[in-house]
Every structure is written in C-alpha cells, then in structure tokens.
Symmetry: C2
Subunit: 170 residues, 2 copies
DNA sequence: CACAACTGCTTGCTATTTGAAAGCGGTTTT
DNA sequence: AAAACCGCTTTCAAATAGCAAGCAGTTGTG
C-alpha cells in the first residue's frame, strides 16, 4: 500500500511527484534533448543514470501521467516516450530552476546557455516553446517559430566555442 | 568525501541542492509560515517531519547558504533560522511550483489560496514579497506593502470558511 | 525553591531507496 | 551466422529515511 499525500499543499504535492534526484532530469532530457528512447536516455545522460533507476523513473512518470509510452512502429522492441500536457506545463518551473541555478550554483557555460535564453525570453518564449513541444509530443500543429532549434543551435555553438578554446590551448 | 556534482547543468545543480522531499518544505515553512525556531518547524509541520531529518536538513541548508542560524538573545538555548538572499530568490521557483501543483495535483483549498494569490499577482507581487522577506530575515528596511500579511490573512480566512462549513454541516 | 515544561538536538534501530554491475530473451543489422 | 542492439530485470552492497526514545541544560510556574 502506498501512503496518501503528506498534505494538500501545492508545493508539497509537487514535491511528492517530482522531488527526487532523477525525475526532473529524465523530463529535462526528453524535453530539451528530445530523447525519446530508453537507450538514448541511458547512454546520453550527462549525469550517468543507472539502468534500474531509469526504468523505475520511467514507470513512475508514466503512471503519474507525466510521460506517455507507446510502441515504436519501426522496431518491435523500441518504445517511444513522450511528454504530456502536464509535463509540458513544467516549462516555467524548469526555466525558473535554470535561472536560479545559473545565479547560485557553479554551472558550466555550455550547459547553461539554454537556461540563459529561456530566462531572457521570459513567458512569451516559454509559451512558444510549449507550443512546439505540443507539436513534437502531442499531435498539435507545427508552430512557425522553432524555439527548440534555437536552443539547440545555441548549445552546439557553445560546445564548439569551448572545443575551439581547448584545441587552441594545446 | 562527498562526490563532486554530476554535471554543470543548472537544472541538475539546483536539483542537487534542493531535490529531496524535505529541503523545500523547510524553506517554505520559514518563508510563508515565518517559522524561525527548530520546535516551531518540528511541531507545526503539516507534513510531520521527523526530528532527526529536520536537524539534518537544517544543517545542510545552513552549510549550503540557504539558511542562516544565530542565537536567540531572549533564550540561551534557542536558535533563530533566517532566509538568505539565495533562498529569498527561490520565491519565483516556489510560486511556479505552487501554480503547477494547483493545476495538476489534488490540492486542498486552504493550503492553495496562497499559491493562487502568488500566481495571480505575478512577478510584481513576487518582488514585493521578496522585499518584505529581506526586511524580515536580513536587515533591509520595512517596505510599505505587506504581502506576507495579505497571504496570511487570506489563509486564515480560508481556514475560517472551511471550519464554518464543517460546523454548519453537523 | 521545587518541579514541570521546554530548548535543540542525538541515539539506536529498522525499513526503504539508491546504485553499480551483470545478465536476459528477443530483434535487427551486417 | 554472428554481432550489435532492444528495453529492461536481477543481485547485492551502501546510503538514506523514518520512528521512538532520550538527554543535558534552561526557563516558567506554584
């Protein structure tokens, strides 16, 4: 038997769903890295999530409606994980987390460029990004603007700059 | 030896500081409930935190600069815990958490009234609240407007309404 | 001045969670 | 035919969570 919620406070209930060290990492990778398969999430994880933990989190996130899982038509063993409307609406929360982290933790430049863009773009950019996520993960129409592409381009740019620096230094 | 950070991603680093089931609960109680003493945090906790967990979290939060601890001049054994500038800047994050929880979790009316006010007030209200927290916890001047009082009044009102309902129903 | 209540914790102790590593039956690619 | 890849599961050790009791010192009360 699972125990009921500790209290009806919205902050507490959000914490009970997402307040562990991995759930939001998985959602972040699906959202910003567009990782849709188990192996992608496992092998391309910056933080090195263990396979059993990933399996457990995927199960729990699907059970709580934050991810959906369906078969990949191109491969009998592959599953595709997608964001749902509730997890797409985590964009403002993740943007604030990124903004706070950028100010108060020792972030690396490449990995914080996306947070910087989201912070500077503010709610209008968040909404455009959410619209695009609805296109990529639900069956919403494709919006004109690609925030995802913009974020990805900026990230790749930052990586290239870092690597150029490293190459030049040797 | 404590291991280094898993990655330099701002979301990950924020999660490493606050991503557990209790840290943000403690900060929430200090911030919105103005609980400044260990016993207040322990006995008035809606979620029923255990004494050893509370002691551990207070230590860690002080060590990471999210709370400060000083002696209470009025009582030799009492300690006063205060928010710091970094934890005051968690207001937008907590507001977003409350807003998301209100939409996607089974919140109780009394406990979500504050989240509702913060959501409707938006960034201007958050800033006013943060100014007041700087007055209550740091030594900033007292601002004209009391968001804390407004939130508290609305909460007490909601509790009174709920109790009136209960009394009328019997 | 005796005594109860209160102060911020700590100390066992057990139950749950985390995590690394290896493995598994089946599918697809080479 | 063989190798690589698929989404996990299993095993076991280590870390963490959580309950209940207790503690030395301080303060309020009759």
């Amino acid at each position: 038997m699972e125990p009921g919620p500790r209290s009806g406070c919205p902050i507490n209930l959000t914490l009970e769903m997402l307040g562990d060290r991995w759930s939001l990492i998985v959602i972040r990778d699906v959202m910003f890295g567009n990782r849709r398969h188990y192996r992608e999430l496992l092998n391309q994880s910056d933080e090195g999530i263990a396979s059993n933990i990933l399996a457990d989190r995927l199960k729990r996130l699907v059970a709580s409606g934050l991810l959906s899982r369906r078969d990949d038509p191109s491969h009998k063993q592959k599953a595709i994980y997608s964001l749902t409307e509730p997890s797409i609406e985590l964009v403002p929360l993740l943007a604030q987390m990124g903004a706070w982290g950028r100010r108060h933790t020792p972030v690396s430049p490449e990995l914080s460029i996306r947070a910087e863009i989201l912070e500077k773009g503010g709610p209008p950019l968040w909404r455009a990004f959410m619209d695009e996520l609805r296109h990529l993960h639900l069956d919403a129409p494709k919006p004109e603007r690609s925030v995802f592409g913009q974020l990805q381009a900026a990230y790749l740019d930052a990586v290239a700059q870092r690597d150029a620096q490293t190459t030049a230094a040797k």
